[in-house]
Amino acid sequence: MISASNATDAAVIEAFAGIAALLDQTPALIQRGRFLDCDCLLGPASHAFHASIRQGRIVDLTPSPALMRSWQFSYRASVAAWVEYWQPAPRPGFHDLLALTKRGEAVLEGDLHPFMTHLQYFKDVLALPRRHFATAVS
């Protein structure tokens, strides 16, 4: 995996923490996830978040580790991979969640059923910081 600086780490964690609010401002995406209820672990491999999703909304986003918190599936990627994924036009190989798993920059684990039934939803939710991230770190 490629590495990133501490400042970049902090920027990625901050961007991740803002995903729930960005989702709240995206009603079409919430509508697409309206049948989804699940608890999952998402984010940077070193600083993942426990996400509780109810009817397509992220109702709780807690930094890990959280004592004895269960999750159904996890999608965790290197900080540098999130930085690349959130570019306005990501580089080839860094432009899709499954491109990242194929190249070893991300790991997908657990019971994948909710992830696969809502694959485009998760791709789009996790891409929400793309609108602001490049300007925020430049």
């Binding site: 190989g93 432009h95 499954l98 491109a99 194929k102 485009q120």
Partner: protein, 292 residues
């Protein structure tokens, strides 16, 4: 009449494939060198509509895109009893050759994308003399799998949604939104298990490693073009394949992914136009030297 009518015409042809009749839907436009276009796994011939509507290409090429059986408007055969559909190398090759024969095409050019690109390599290995040129888009002798195809057809996952969501990542981020949505729409419309059945050829039966070395590009020129954003058939996969074939032309296409002809037709045209020019130039030379 006020509506704009495109030059593309669609018809059905009844084709004998290995002793069974299939009703195959095809669309065509243009006159000249026959150019048969093969769609990707789980989609249909609509992917080629921009190419077929291209007035400049239509002056020199009779462009034909057909829907494989089980795809688009080509139904499964009358004998199908609902058993799991699986495309094999042999069946895919038979289908293309039978379709070309049914339309009495004289040494057509065949251009295929993805599984269509893979089968083009098989045509080059075993039947090169039947074709004027072969063009493989997103083509390689093999590529590493990146997901479990059992997710594509199971009752607790919406097949159309998951097929489209999986392949959405293969489209370049620069591709226009409307073209991206149209490309994915075909995946959402596919029959249950058809995409998965096509991938049986791609993943299991159609491994051409160790066979592409037999391709003789002096018998039939081979052009390979792959989009830089295709992480299924990567540029490295295509380059590795071409390295084993003497004389194969390789182009890596910028700002394109796995569906160049449908995800960004304008960008694709920049790359396919010079290839078609070369096919045309070779034809002119052959005519002049009386080799036809």
């Amino acid at each position: 009449m006020n509506g704009v009518i495109e030059p593309i015409v669609g018809r059905y042809v009844h084709v004998d494939i290995d002793g069974e009749m299939y009703r195959i839907y095809f669309e065509e436009s243009g006159t000249g060198i026959p150019l048969v276009c093969l769609h990707t796994a789980g989609s249909d011939g609509r992917q080629w509509r921009h190419l077929l509507a291209d007035e400049a290409f239509a002056k020199n090429f009779r462009m034909i895109a057909f829907d494989m059986p089980w795809h688009g408007k080509s139904n499964p055969p009358a004998s199908w009893d609902g058993t799991e559909y699986q495309l094999t190398t042999a069946r895919y090759t038979q289908t293309i050759r039978a379709f070309c024969k049914a339309l009495k095409l004289d040494r057509p050019v065949v251009m295929g994308c993805s599984i269509g690109g893979r089968i083009v390599l098989n045509l080059a290995i075993d039947h090169a003399a039947e074709f004027r040129a072969l063009i493989g888009l997103e083509a390689a002798d093999f590529q590493a799998p990146w997901y479990d195809t059992s997710w594509l057809n199971r009752p607790d996952v919406h097949g159309g949604e998951v097929c489209a969501a999986l392949v959405s990542g293969l489209i370049a981020p620069q591709s226009p939104d409307n073209s991206r949505i149209e490309t994915l729409w075909a995946y959402k419309q596919g029959g249950p298990g058809v995409f998965k059945g096509d991938l049986y050829f791609y993943r299991v039966d159609g491994d051409l490693r160790g066979r592409v070395e037999k391709i003789d590009t002096k018998v039939c020129p081979l052009f390979l073009l792959t989009g830089e954003y295709d992480f299924s058939c990567t540029p490295e996969d295509t380059k590795r394949t071409a390295a084993a074939i003497g004389g194969a032309s390789v182009t890596i296409m910028e700002q394109l992914g796995h569906f160049p002809m449908s995800e960004n037709p304008e960008q694709f045209r920049r790359y396919i136009s010079p290839v078609l020019d070369r096919v045309l130039a070779a034809e002119t030379v052959a005519d002049r030297s009386g080799r036809r």
